[in-house]
Amino acid sequence: MRAMQVALAALVVSFAGSGTAEGQTLVMAERDLNFGMLTAGAPAVVAPADLMRSAQLRIDGRGEYQVSFQLPTSLTAPDGARIPLVFGAADGMLSIRHKVTMFDPNTTLTFRVNPAESEAQINLGGRAQPIPSQPAGIYSATIVMMVVQTGT
């Protein structure tokens, strides 16, 4: 009977350890993607490395992750006018400590945050393409980032 009680205690400890690591994953949006003032007919590009204008999100917590995005195809003004929006193969940037990896935000990104690293930073750039007859106004769209922790 005593041997079985010890085994049960070991199971409880391991359960508590893995549950705590998964529960601590935090995803935070830190900055919007800002194309700024556009001129009708002139494309505007924001590089993911742009520290002022690129979108920035942070994932806190070690583990293995899969990240995907719902990317809009256009920016929209309140009156319905649209500016085409394009995300290219190098418009995503993953930073873990000092290691930087470019990625295509149109595809799923898989990466690992090791125990020695506490967080991953993701930046997004893009290209806005206002047409020559683009009406004046403020345009916007929502970008959704979905994070799944697939392992510890």
Partner: protein, 161 residues
């Protein structure tokens, strides 16, 4: 009793979720600056004047126009609209009239340029409007005026609305 305790622990482990998911959003924004460009040239030229019949150029005739290209609603007005044309030591009364045409639509009813406010609304895209200019110089005024050339200028003002 010991067997029941082990089964309970196994069930607790199974209900632990294997993956955690989260979602976050950011906003992409941009602002298209308002623009309005006025182009065109050419004077409102009445040419030789008649002292027998009134000399009139219709603002809607297209004789003298300016083109406004704009991507936001605008107000067009006119400053320093003269009531007379200036000659050498003499003046010649004139009534200037202005009208507008959005794209290929009909012309607006001509109005006195002095104090006029033409409100032009942008459509769903870049809009082009034509401003037309005309006026009347009365025959009686011509009859009273010394021979010579008479001229004056005025300003077109475009403001965002």
């Amino acid at each position: 009793m010991v067997r029941k305790m082990i089964l309970t622990a196994a069930v607790a482990v199974l209900v632990v979720p294997a993956m955690v998911s989260a979602q976050s959003t950011v906003t992409a924004t941009a602002t298209v600056s308002p623009t309005a460009v006025l182009t065109g040239s050419g004077d409102l030229a009445f040419g030789p004047l008649s002292d027998a019949t009134d000399n009139e150029i219709l603002a809607t005739s297209g004789a003298t126009t300016r083109t406004v290209t704009f991507n936001h609603d605008i107000d067009v007005s006119f400053d320093n609209v003269p009531a007379v044309l200036n000659g050498t030591g003499a003046t010649l009364p004139i009534q200037l009239r202005c009208a507008s045409q959005l794209g290929a639509a009909s012309w607006s009813t001509p109005v006195d340029c002095n104090g006029a406010l033409l409100q032009l609304d942008v459509g769903g895209a870049l809009t082009v409007a034509t401003l037309g200019f005309g006026g009347i110089i009365l025959a009686a005024d011509v009859a009273n005026a010394p021979a010579g050339d008479y001229a004056a200028t005025f300003d077109i003002v475009i403001a965002a609305r």
